[in-house]
C-alpha cells in the first residue's frame, strides 16, 4: 500500500543540552577545551557513547595547532569511535555550519542525536599568528597579496557605512559599550566588564576607522551542542529548545565585488530561517548576531530585517528610542563576539548556547524577559562570504 506522504512528518530538531569551556587565554589545547565543554553538556546525561550517533566539529584553522582530523579526534576524546565524524570549515561560520549539519541529520531522520561542536586554540602563536591564520579566509590572489587583515576588511565596510548613513564613530563605540554591559552579567564572557564610550573612542587605531575596542578579541574556546529528536530529549529529561529554521548562503569571497552595506548573504540566510520557522523578523525577541566588529551589528540589524536601511547603528538604544520601523529585538544579550568572546570555530555554537540559556530560563540576571524566539546569525570569511542563520524557539512556542 502506498504511503501517503502528507502524513510523514520530519522529526523536529531539538537542542537538548549545551556546554562550553572557559573563553580567552587558557592553558588548554583544543582537544582539552572540547573535553571541558563536553563535560558540561553531558553533566546530567548518559555517556556520549550511549547517546551520540554522529559528530560535526567547527574549526577554522589547522595553523593554530597543526592539527586537522578534528572530527576523528574529538569523537575519540568523547568516547565515540565508529561514528560518522568530520570537521566543518567555513572560517568563523564553521560552528553554525556544524549545527546546521546536525539539524539536517535529525530532521531527515538519519540520526536521533548528533553532537555539534566547535573549537579554536587561537592564542597558540600570538596576535601575529592569529592575524595570519585569519587572513587565509580572504581571496588569495588579490586581497591577501595586498596585505589586508580582518580588521581592515571590516574597516572598509565601516568606512562605507559611515559615508552612506548618519552613523558616527561614536555610535559604533556605543555598540561596544552596550555589548560589554551585557557581558558584565555573563559569567561565561571573556571580558565580563563594562567600558565607557570614551575608552572605546580613545583606544588604539587598528584599521581606521575601527579601533581596538571595536574589535572582538582573540581567544581560545570550545562549545558543544547536542541536537536530538523531541522524543529523545524527553527521554533524557532535558530542557528543550526547538530549532525551527535554518538557512545558509555564500557570497563573493572578495569584499570589493559585493554590495558592502547591503549584506545580502545574511539577509538570505535569515529569511530562509524565518520562512522555515513560519515567522517574520518582527517576531524575534533576541538575536545573537556576528558582531566580530561593532559595525557588523549595525549592518546585520538591517540585513536580517530588524532595522530600516541606514538605522542599524541604533542597536544600542532602548527599543523605544530607536527609529521608526525598528523591531523590539534585543541584540547580543551574551555580550556578543565583542565581549563574550570569539574563538572562531566555536562562536556559532556559543551563540546557540546563549539562546538555549535564554529560552530555558537559565540566563540568570542577563535574562531577556519574555524571550521566546531567537535568531542566531553566524558569518565566516569577511562579513557574508558565508552566513548561517538559525531560528530557535521555546518548546511551548508555535
Amino acid at each position: 500500500m502506498a504511503v501517503d506522504t502528507a502524513y510523514v512528518r520530519m522529526p523536529e530538531p531539538i537542542i537538548a543540552s549545551v556546554g562550553a569551556s572557559p573563553l580567552g587565554r587558557t592553558d588548554l589545547p583544543g582537544r582539552d577545551l572540547f573535553s571541558v565543554a563536553l563535560a558540561e553538556a553531558f553533566d546530567e546525561l548518559p555517556d556520549p557513547a550511549d547517546v551520540v550517533e554522529a559528530v560535526y566539529v567547527g574549526s577554522q584553522s589547522e595553523s593554530y595547532e597543526h592539527q586537522i582530523m578534528y572530527g576523528t579526534l574529538l569523537a575519540e576524546w568523547a568516547g565515540l569511535r565508529h561514528v560518522p565524524a568530520e570537521r566543518v570549515e567555513g572560517c568563523a561560520a564553521a560552528g553554525a555550519l556544524a549545527l546546521r549539519h546536525a539539524v539536517k541529520d535529525v530532521r531527515n531522520g538519519e540520526h536521533e542525536a548528533v553532537l555539534a561542536c566547535g573549537v579554536e586554540k587561537m592564542t597558540s602563536a600570538g596576535t601575529s599568528g592569529a592575524t595570519d591564520a585569519l587572513s587565509a579566509a580572504f581571496d588569495r590572489a588579490i586581497e591577501q597579496r595586498s596585505g589586508v587583515t580582518a580588521p581592515s576588511q571590516y574597516a572598509l565596510l565601516a568606512q562605507r557605512y559611515l559615508h552612506e548613513t548618519d552613523a558616527t564613530e561614536r555610535d559604533l563605540a556605543e555598540i561596544a559599550v552596550k555589548n560589554h554591559a551585557n557581558a558584565a552579567r555573563n559569567p561565561r564572557a571573556q571580558f565580563p566588564k563594562e567600558v565607557d564610550v570614551e575608552t572605546v573612542l580613545e583606544s588604539n587605531p587598528v584599521a581606521s576607522p575601527l579601533k581596538l575596542y571595536d574589535c572582538a578579541p582573540v581567544g581560545d574556546g570550545a562549545a558543544a551542542v547536542l541536537v536530538t529528536t523531541a522524543e529523545l530529549a524527553a527521554d533524557l529529561d532535558c530542557p528543550q529548545v526547538r530549532v525551527a529554521g535554518s538557512g545558509a548562503s555564500a557570497n563573493n569571497i572578495a569584499v570589493a565585488e559585493r554590495d558592502m552595506t547591503d549584506i545580502a548573504g545574511a539577509r538570505i540566510a535569515a529569511e530562509t530561517a524565518y520562512e522555515e520557522a513560519g515567522i517574520d523578523a518582527a517576531d524575534v525577541d533576541i538575536a545573537e548576531v556576528h558582531d566580530a566588529f561593532t559595525v557588523c551589528e549595525a549592518l546585520l540589524a538591517e540585513a536580517v530585517g530588524f532595522a530600516p536601511t541606514g538605522t542599524g547603528y541604533q542597536s544600542y538604544l532602548d527599543p523605544a528610542d530607536r527609529a521608526d520601523g525598528w523591531t523590539d529585538v534585543q541584540l547580543s544579550p551574551s555580550g556578543g563576539l565583542k565581549a563574550r568572546g570569539h574563538p572562531i570555530g566555536a562562536t556559532g555554537l556559543l551563540q546557540a548556547l546563549e539562546a538555549y540559556e535564554q529560552l530555558t530560563g537559565a540566563a540568570g540576571d542577563r535574562a531577556v524577559e519574555g524571550a521566546e524566539t531567537a535568531l542566531l546569525l553566524n558569518e565566516g570569511g569577511v562579513a557574508d562570504a558565508v552566513t548561517v542563520g538559525h531560528v530557535l524557539t521555546t518548546a511551548e512556542a508555535q
Binding site: T131, I142, Q144, S146, Q159, A207, M260
Partner: protein, 143 residues
C-alpha cells in the same frame, strides 16, 4: 571561449590574468548576458550564473569606493605598516581591492586613482607560493 581550452595562458585563470597584468594590461571578465565585470576574469558570472564570459581590457582609472589604514599588518607586510588599502571602482564598472600609495589622511571616498603595476619586493617574494613568485603587485596611485 569554451571551457575545454582553459589553460594557464587563458586570462580566466590566475596565471593568464597576472601575465597580462605584468605587461600593464588589466583584463576583466565581462558577462555577455548581464554585463557584469569580473575582476579577475573567471569562467562563470557570479551575478547571473552565465558561463558566457568574454575577456576585455579594463580601464585602469577609477575612484576610491572605500579605504582604510592597516596598523596591525600580517607578518609578511609588518615592515610596511601603517599603509593604506582601498576598494576602487574602476571606470568600466568593476571593483578591485589594492594598496594605495598615499597616506590615509590624504585619501577620501571619490578620489581619482590609477592602477599601476610593479614587481614584487624581496619580502613579498619570500611570502609568495612558488607559483605566485613572479606575479606582479598592483598599487593605486592618486591622480
Amino acid at each position: 571561449m569554451s571551457d575545454d581550452t582553459l589553460d594557464s595562458s587563458d586570462p580566466r585563470t590566475l596565471p593568464g590574468f597576472f601575465d597580462a597584468l605584468a605587461d600593464e594590461e588589466l583584463l576583466g571578465g565581462v558577462c555577455t548576458d548581464c554585463g557584469q565585470v569580473l575582476l579577475p576574469p573567471r569562467p562563470a558570472c557570479y551575478a547571473c550564473g552565465s558561463r558566457a564570459v568574454d575577456v576585455e581590457p579594463q580601464s585602469r582609472e577609477g575612484e576610491i569606493f572605500s579605504y582604510t589604514e592597516v596598523h596591525a599588518a600580517p607578518p609578511a607586510f609588518a615592515a610596511d605598516a601603517p599603509y593604506t588599502v582601498a576598494v576602487v571602482e574602476l571606470a568600466d564598472g568593476g571593483r578591485l581591492l589594492g594598496r594605495v600609495n598615499a597616506d590615509y589622511a590624504d585619501v577620501a571616498i571619490g578620489d581619482p586613482v590609477e592602477l599601476t603595476v610593479r614587481e614584487p619586493t624581496a619580502a613579498e617574494r619570500d611570502a609568495a607560493l612558488d607559483y605566485e613568485a613572479d606575479w606582479p603587485i598592483h598599487v593605486f596611485e592618486p591622480r
